[in-house]
């Protein structure tokens, strides 16, 4: 049975997914990619925006979520943390 993801883990999943989509992603892509419900997606996106990791941008009337400089830095740090915790077998 897989463990319940922590808030940080979900943040990381969303940010990694946006990065994989060249730094910008549609909410529906995030919804399916990060395996979230509609209500929790909104909550996490709001949290990420208020932390300054992502910003909402308009592209041909579509709403997209783009990574900010702070978001890229967070991804970089969280990758290192992920590798360190995996090396020691710590789940975050």
């Amino acid at each position: 049975m897989s463990e319940k993801r922590s808030k940080l883990q979900i943040f990381m999943d969303i940010l990694f997914l946006i990065q994989k989509e060249n730094g910008k992603a549609k909410p529906t892509r995030i919804l399916y990619g990060a395996n979230l419900s509609h209500s929790s997606l909104k909550e996490y996106l709001d949290d990420l925006i208020s932390n300054g990791f992502i910003e909402e941008v308009k592209d041909n009337k579509h709403s997209l979520f783009a990574l900010t400089e702070k978001g890229y830095q967070f991804i970089n740090e969280s990758r290192k943390i992920k590798r360190l915790t995996e090396a020691f077998g710590i789940s975050i």
Binding site: S78, E86, A87, F88, G89
Partner: protein, 212 residues
């Protein structure tokens, strides 16, 4: 370790000081990166990782200072009637206490969360007057840590996890050989070689984690 003071060549105390200092630096580096990760995640096991390597590092600093002290003063004590053993003993005993706390915290890191939450008080055994007791406890704790680390390595199939497991195995060999030092001084030299290999393995893991 205490009994052997006269039988180990003087120059080796200098070498061991370098080994203990290097181990302390590696320990502090692990602690620093674990602290950075803890600050960002507020994850309890990361706090234990940070504290355990910090305390292990302090223990090695104490050991390095003790060995340097022996290195610089042994000739004087040999030519006088004053016994060096008491000072030597205090240095090692302080190391035993720090190191034991470090290993206990590492063990806590691997305990299931439900158990970990109940263990908020860490009992510090004061009966570590005997190096045998200390090494035996270290071996038992390290065995548990190694089993958890092997399980993680098998699950992840990750080279960094193999390096961590290897480092803990080296620490286990270090303590096992130190128990046998009263039989042969080669054990003491061998133990220290395993110690430095273990911490180099942790350093390599840190380099891979941060610069890959």
């Amino acid at each position: 370790m205490v009994i052997m003071i006269e039988s180990i060549p003087l120059w080796f105390y200098f070498i061991t000081s370098v080994i203990y200092s290097s181990s302390a630096i590696a320990g502090f580096l692990v602690s620093y990166f674990a602290f950075r990760a803890y600050k960002m995640t507020k994850n309890k096991p990361l706090m234990f990782l940070f504290l355990s390597f910090l305390i292990l590092g302090i223990g090695f600093v104490i050991l390095a200072v003790t060995n340097i002290y022996i290195y610089t003063t042994l000739e004087f004590y040999r030519s006088s009637s004053v016994s060096l053993n008491l000072l030597n003993y205090q240095g090692f005993r302080t190391y035993y206490i720090f190191s034991s706390i470090g290993y206990i915290l590492l063990t806590l890191m691997y305990l299931p969360k439900k158990v970990m939450n109940k263990l908020f008080i860490i009992y510090v055994p004061i009966w570590y007057a005997s190096s045998f007791n200390f090494h035996l406890l270290s071996i038992v704790l390290l065995l548990y840590i190694i089993i958890q680390s092997i399980i993680n390595s098998i699950r992840r199939k990750n080279f960094d996890a193999y390096l961590v497991t290897f480092a803990f195995i080296c620490l286990l060999v270090f303590h096992s050989l130190l128990i046998l030092t009263s039989f042969s001084q080669t054990m003491y030299i061998g133990a220290n070689i395993f110690l430095i290999i273990g911490f180099l393995s942790l350093l390599l893991m840190l380099i891979r984690v941060n610069f890959k």
